[in-house]
């Protein structure tokens, strides 16, 4: 983002990069009807995994409206979000942003251990005791090999949707091929 002033530097993230295998995890995954425990490795690849700020903060609304409007649902990948919000909050996010019509689903990770495993934690200033993922996006093959990785090094920041879409399309093509 170019705001004409300095934003908060979070330091470099330490996440899995292209060619490395992303850590597997199991968390409740929420759709418009219910939630159940699902492992990342159970999802059909390629997977587009999007870490975003807790539901209710505006970035989540921005990111998922944008992903919906850009048709990320129709690219041939499994699109999943992850935040520290509870399944109940994810249900509201899905409802409030008309995401029920998409196949987007949302992992709930209130203890933030997934972000910890991915090296992308963000301790929130002024919210003592709350840590959440940095904004980050990953495109993973069937075996969770990272094809594309981006994590914010400044706060706040938003994904580069064009780059992400290109990476998803390449991953889908590679999988189909």
């Amino acid at each position: 983002m170019d705001l004409g002033f300095e934003v908060v530097d979070m330091g470099e993230p330490d996440h899995p990069t292209e060619g490395e295998q992303a850590p597997d995890f199991t968390r409740p995954v929420v759709d418009d009807e219910y939630w159940e425990d699902v492992a990342l490795s159970e999802l059909d690849g390629p997977v587009c995994l999007v870490f975003y700020s807790m539901d209710g903060a505006f970035p989540g609304t921005y990111v998922w409206s944008e992903m919906r409007d850009r048709g990320f649902d129709d690219l041939g990948a499994t699109v999943v979000g992850l935040s520290i919000s509870t399944p109940y909050a994810h249900k509201r996010l899905i409802e409030d942003n008309n995401l029920g019509e998409t196949d987007f689903r949302f992992f709930s990770d209130p203890a933030n251990a997934v972000a910890e495993a991915y090296g992308i934690t963000n301790d929130l200033d002024g919210m003592t005791g709350i840590t959440e993922p940095r904004p980050a996006t990953f495109v993973l093959d069937d075996d969770r090999t990272v094809r594309y990785a981006w994590a914010a090094s400044e706060w706040p920041d938003l994904p580069d949707y064009d780059d992400l879409e290109t990476a998803v399309l390449e991953a889908v093509e590679a999988t189909d091929g």
Binding site: P28, E33, Y34, W35, E36, D37, A39, E42, P87, Y88, K91
Partner: protein, 97 residues
């Protein structure tokens, strides 16, 4: 990871649901939990499966049974997987696909 044959639709902190969970655990049955919301109007998945919007509901692929009402479910589990039940957990596991 093999899929459990039994799916339990449940509501967090619902005592009737916990009663079913206790019975499932007692018989050593593997199950998958699907949590729904407190508002009945938001339980379309449950309605689709069972015809009602109340939980608990279990769907048992071992027998093809879908059932609501915790007392009925507990009786069903006992008759099916209990000491003198029709199926043992082992045969159920072997037959489950």
């Amino acid at each position: 990871m093999s899929e459990p044959a039994i799916t339990l639709y449940r509501l967090q902190a619902c005592p009737f649901c916990e009663r079913v969970v206790r019975t499932l655990d007692e018989y050593g049955l593997a199950y998958r939990s699907r949590f729904v919301e407190p508002l009945h109007s938001k339980r379309d998945a449950v309605k689709r499966e069972s015809g009602v919007r109340t939980v608990p509901v279990i769907v048992d692929d071992n027998t093809g049974v879908t059932m609501a009402e915790s007392a009925n479910i507990v009786s069903y589990l006992e008759e099916t997987y209990g000491e003198n039940g029709r199926l043992t957990v082992e045969t159920a596991a072997a037959g489950g696909s």
